[in-house]
Symmetry: C2
DNA sequence: ATTTAGCACTCTCGATATGAGAGTGCTAAA
DNA sequence: TTTAGCACTCTCATATCGAGAGTGCTAAAT
């Protein structure tokens, strides 16, 4: 990566700024006029040649204006963008909305997806927080009909998972109550290892239940185990570069199909530290589908305890400042909420 | 609506069939050649004039082929299409998949959305089944931290809803157990009226809980209360008429935004009888956003007890035969599953 | 050593023209 | 009632053309 002088940096920033707005190649004259630059268009042209040689700009064709390359965007994001924040009143409004959502995690998720989509004008996704180290908290067994039993397990993060079991033989609600009481007293706060270490102090029924609880625990600890919340998918379609809709389709499919999504998240954000915003520009050579897209990702939650991921998909030509600040803000918001929730319990 | 003779009906059916495949206006010559018709293209042209006068066909411009009108599709769906079914082996495969999903309602929903999207090549949506008449089954209260209590309510359909309460003052887990035991014994199987009718046989804590349970019950009985499962949104983008992406955006937004969706469902499928497939062609004058789209909808579930809705969105030029059979089949499948589940409990 | 004015050159984009092709509607004959 | 024949219409793809925007280069100016 070349080292740019101030003028080069200024011109690059201005070109990116204008191109993000207009989606049109940016020419030297227009730039000088719009920003009343104190050097001439010829000088700008010289600078443009430098930036093109450095790989930060390109021309769609001879004698058209310049367009940022992926490298150009990367330089901008790393070196030029600075730490922007959402406007104070926007932050207040959003905070208020989260506050109103109370303790309902599903509402947090929906709200986060909605805020991200709205602020960034892109497509957003938010994965539900999942425990990195699930701990058992409470169990209910409810006899329904014959050998069918509804098992409801509450985990220490407050997640609730239910499942219907079919037992080998009918069991009365009384016996179920006895078993749950025993298990609830004994297993409180145990993690997977703890559960496995418990010896033969249980009868057959309790052993069975314990095994199922253990399986559920494993399922829950997978990275994209729960629901994925999305919003603003149609925003992406509004961008002119996706008018032809084919690349848009490919990109949206990435968000729609779970395996692709798991791949994406596990290769990037899961290894990053909390609330650290990552910007993937143009697929970074790995995702063909994302040729003309960028993704802004972050991981949120209580490190080591309960984490999730969130992100925004938009065209490469997106407003990185706004998007990064939105992602950072929402990620921090959710982290605070999750940490607070964990502390309560 | 005019009465058509056999030849007119045949020509209309063939034009719709071809147009659905090619998305191109259909001409008289091509029709005669492709289907080796025993009358000439001139005759077909005469028939086309009749069908155009009747309002079932139109010409994009003078001297282009014919294209079905919305009325044409309606006539086709009502009179010509017949009762088609998915192929037997497809039905078997799908049945098998549902069977493998066990009793997990969320998996049913995801699978239903996926099957609908795949079979119809459109965008699908499925609302979770919600109780028409919720009955209380079981309650758990779990003390978490200070005055915070996690309330988990199980309804007679097997739905589980959780919520975090903040009590006026700290309460021990013992006291919570006593209260839940009492409430679980007393309220088993009661509906909203039943709960309201219970007099002063409860202490203050129990009264509070009961009130919250009642509120939750009301929330749950709203038509689109739970999650909405979607799939295949990108299928729609693949259709040539949505290449320009603007009308596609409008239509997909209808599925993305909950209020619009509630409006759509409440005005149509909620008043229909179970497993009865409704076809809305071109917005039916009510939904501007659906100008070039059709929606195939059905209601599923156990009538009076637990119902949901499902549907497919596609271009007006969609294969109604395939889509209607897919919607009918999946709807019947889910109805069976829900009824079976209700009978178990 | 930079910066700038001047200018020729290039390329896109929209407007306009043109011809092939597909399809119709009409008329008159079968 | 059906059909062959034919003139007519309209679209679509292609080609042409000029305006406009923007560049790169050179030589002069700072």
């Amino acid at each position: 990566m070349s080292i740019l002088n101030d003028r080069q940096r200024l011109v690059l920033a201005l070109i990116i700024h204008d191109y993000v707005e207009t989606a049109q190649p940016i020419g030297s004259q227009g730039l000088v006029e719009r920003y009343k630059l104190e050097f001439s268009s010829a000088t700008v042209r010289n600078v443009m040649v430098d930036l093109t040689d450095a790989g930060y700009l390109r021309q769609p064709h001879t004698s058209a204006g310049r367009v940022p390359t992926e490298e150009g965007y990367r330089y901008f994001v790393r070196q030029l963008m600075g730490q922007t924040e959402l406007p104070a009143n926007t932050r207040r409004t959003i905070t208020h909305q989260f506050y109103q959502a109370g303790q309902d995690v599903n509402r947090w998720m929906r709200l986060a997806a909605s805020v991200l989509a709205h602020q960034s004008q892109g497509a957003s996704l938010v994965t539900a927080p999942h425990p990195e180290q699930a701990r058992f908290q409470h169990l209910s067994l409810i006899a329904t009909h014959g050998r069918q039993v509804l098992m409801v397990v509450v985990w220490s993060g407050g997640q609730v998972r239910q499942q219907i079991l079919t037992l080998a033989e009918p069991v009365s609600q009384e016996m179920l109550n006895t078993a749950t009481d025993h298990l609830n007293r004994t297993c409180q706060g145990l993690d997977a290892d703890g559960l496995a270490a418990l010896g033969g102090q249980f009868d057959a029924l309790e052993q069975d239940i314990l095994r199922l609880v253990g399986e559920e625990m494993l399922r829950m600890q997978r990275p994209v185990s729960g629901e994925v919340f999305r919003d603003g998918l149609t925003n992406v379609l509004a961008e002119p570069e996706f008018a032809e809709s084919d690349s848009a389709r490919k990109a949206l499919r990435l968000l729609e199909e779970r395996p692709l999504l798991e791949d994406l998240l596990s290769r990037t954000v899961l290894h990053s530290s909390m609330d650290d915003v990552q910007v993937l520009i143009g697929g970074e050579g790995t995702w063909e589908e994302l040729r003309d897209c960028s993704i802004v990702l972050a991981r949120y939650g209580a490190p080591g305890l309960m984490t999730g991921a969130l992100g925004v998909l938009g065209p490469t030509r997106m407003s990185y400042g706004r998007t990064v600040s939105a992602v950072r803000f929402v990620s921090g918001m959710l982290s605070d909420l999750v940490i607070e929730m964990m502390a309560d319990e």
